[in-house]
Symmetry: C2
Subunit: 216 residues, 2 copies
């Protein structure tokens, strides 16, 4: 556990990023629910979405406690995160669950990696808003069903997952360039190993793809 530190502006930057990520993930998953093939799955995706908003509230409350209006802390991420979602609009249910599976997991891995650059209670808070694993299991099971029903789907979803990662990296680069304090927090913190970070994110992603029958 890190020692408690006084949060600097970079902390609000990071909490704002995670908060807006939750808010937008909520909206997009809720919107994607209409692509579900039945009411059971439609409700399941809506419940996954709703879990994001509870996390959003905790992050927004912490920002308010730090004296930063949540909307100010989130504003810098509006354009890049919106661009990510706009450029990765799922066309069917298999793409919806693949996007949730890939996106949530990479987000969680990233948060876990950079959490150590934060002092408590912010470190504890961001670790606490990681996604519930039962949702990842639901998404993984749906991908396996889609691939089992039609093996050609594996190729299409593998390509889709590569596009998701590509678009996410491109927008992450944009955020890193624009938010100097945030980038410095992550890059200059001895507790975060930046070269290792990308290596580990990529390795974990590859393992997850294989686990649902997709290739990287």
């Amino acid at each position: 556990m890190s020692a408690p530190t006084t949060p600097g502006p970079a902390v609000a930057d990071l909490l704002g990023l995670v908060a807006f990520g939750e808010l937008l993930a909520f909206e997009r998953m809720a919107g994607d629910a209409r692509l579900a093939p039945d009411l059971r799955r439609r409700a399941a995706l809506s419940e996954m979405a709703a879990a994001e908003i509870a996390n959003y509230r905790r992050l927004a409350d912490r920002l308010t406690a730090l004296g930063v209006p949540p909307e100010d802390a989130m504003a810098p991420y509006l354009a890049p995160l919106q661009a990510y979602h706009d450029s990765t609009e799922p066309r069917d249910w298999a793409e919806v669950v693949t996007k949730a599976y890939v996106g949530d997991a990479i987000t969680d891995d990233f948060i876990r990696e950079i959490a150590d650059a934060l002092g408590d209670p912010d470190r504890e808070l961001v670790l606490d808003v990681l996604h519930d694993s039962r949702y990842a299991e639901f998404a993984a099971a749906e991908i396996r069903v889609a691939v089992a029903a039609d093996p050609r789907v594996a190729d299409r979803l593998s390509m889709w997952a590569r596009r998701l990662v590509g678009e996410a990296l491109s927008q992450a680069g944009r955020v890193a360039a624009e938010r100097a304090a945030l980038t410095a927090l992550i890059a200059q913190d001895d507790r975060v190993d930046v070269p290792g970070l990308f290596r580990r994110l990529t390795a974990a992603h590859t393992t997850r793809m294989a686990a649902v029958g997709l290739n990287n």
Copy 2:
């Protein structure tokens, strides 16, 4: 409090109606959040939406406990509720909050009226999923702001509210015609006063309209 009774098929009908109402209200409000003029309001509407899904889960669990798959209980309402929302797609933020304000309140009034036709624990459950009043207050405040900013908005929103009620009644009529057991449960139960029901729903709606500066 009513005496506990063995729930008949009409109970599953009613729980299915309320459950699907929650699920669809969730989806629509989450989708409408994109019309919010700023991030604070966008988050507020998303949180209102998320509250619906928690209620959905409780109703779905109760249906499962009664031996009825929630998707079966909800299926009859898919077409009419979808038709209601499709025909009342808000075009701007003022219409979004007016739809939430009018729709949630009439739904709650209706549930309160028919709850007495249910035995416990179903009666307690449906009374428990009524909307949180702080959301109604949020929506009412937003309508007042819109009307104060431009008095002509009051006419447009009054007309919009009449359309919402008209479309809701039209779809409610369709449900009543198709779901005989549900209609019988409500109409034949001594504890529910049907002519009074419509009178009271209308009177409460008129009072709510006036409270935000709209006319009926």
